[in-house]
């Protein structure tokens, strides 16, 4: 079902806001994770994990889901379709994969934030908090979302077999 031009513009605006918001939130997490792995200050590490724990469920996950849902609406409600163009298929793959990993890793962030909130913290726990896990995940997410952004902007050419068949049937039906 095609959306009206006005509704398409509104849906696109919501999709861009959600996706850019998600990218911005991931950038913040990436910056914080760089500080976590670099700083020797224990209080800073604890504060950062508590902040990340507070932000992951109410900010990061809603933005990620909103980006996925509005992207689906945008694809299905416009001429682009979901499986007609390769760039849309890859964006869908990136979005779904990033959402799955985020949902799985959110539990870890919650756990680490709880660890950072404890009054006394052992050296073993501190080693875990200083570990590269959060930096690896946030930099991976950043790379995926930047790739998705580039695909959206450049829209590289390439029609799938399904998209090609659709085009051919449209050409045949609109022929003389």
């Amino acid at each position: 079902m095609r959306m009206s031009p006005r509704l398409t513009r509104f849906a696109l605006t919501v999709h861009v806001v959600a996706s850019v918001g998600w990218l911005g939130a991931v950038l913040v997490f990436f910056g914080l994770s760089v500080v976590v792995t670099a700083t020797p200050d224990v209080q800073t590490i604890r504060g950062i994990y508590i902040a990340m724990g507070a932000g992951v469920w109410p900010i990061l996950i809603p933005l990620a889901f909103a980006s996925l849902i509005t992207g689906l609406v945008q694809a299905l409600g416009t001429r682009w379709g979901l499986f007609k163009h390769y760039w849309v298929v890859f964006k869908l793959f990136i979005n779904v994969f990033a959402n799955i990993v985020l949902l799985m890793y959110a539990r870890t962030i919650t756990f680490l934030a709880g660890m950072a909130e404890e009054i006394s913290i052992s050296s073993a726990d501190l080693e875990v908090l200083r570990g590269p896990s959060v930096l690896i995940h946030s930099s991976g997410a950043l790379a995926l979302l930047l790739a998705a952004t580039a695909l959206s902007v450049y829209k590289p050419r390439g029609v799938t077999r399904y998209g090609w068949r659709k085009q051919q049937s449209q050409l045949a039906s609109s022929g003389p």
Binding site: V101, T110, F111, G114, A124, V128
Partner: protein, 54 residues
Amino acid sequence: MTLQPPPRTPIWVKIFAVIAVVILVVFLAMVLSDNGKHGPGRHMPHGVGPILSN
């Protein structure tokens, strides 16, 4: 009306597909190596259980 042959797959699609497959394989290998329990426990030292604090 003559139907055109299907277009060739662009080179960028092949590159992206290879990267996507590599990412998926690495991800599945990590999840399966943890018996499907990729979560807090993976990031803990050995012997410490994945206790969630809510």
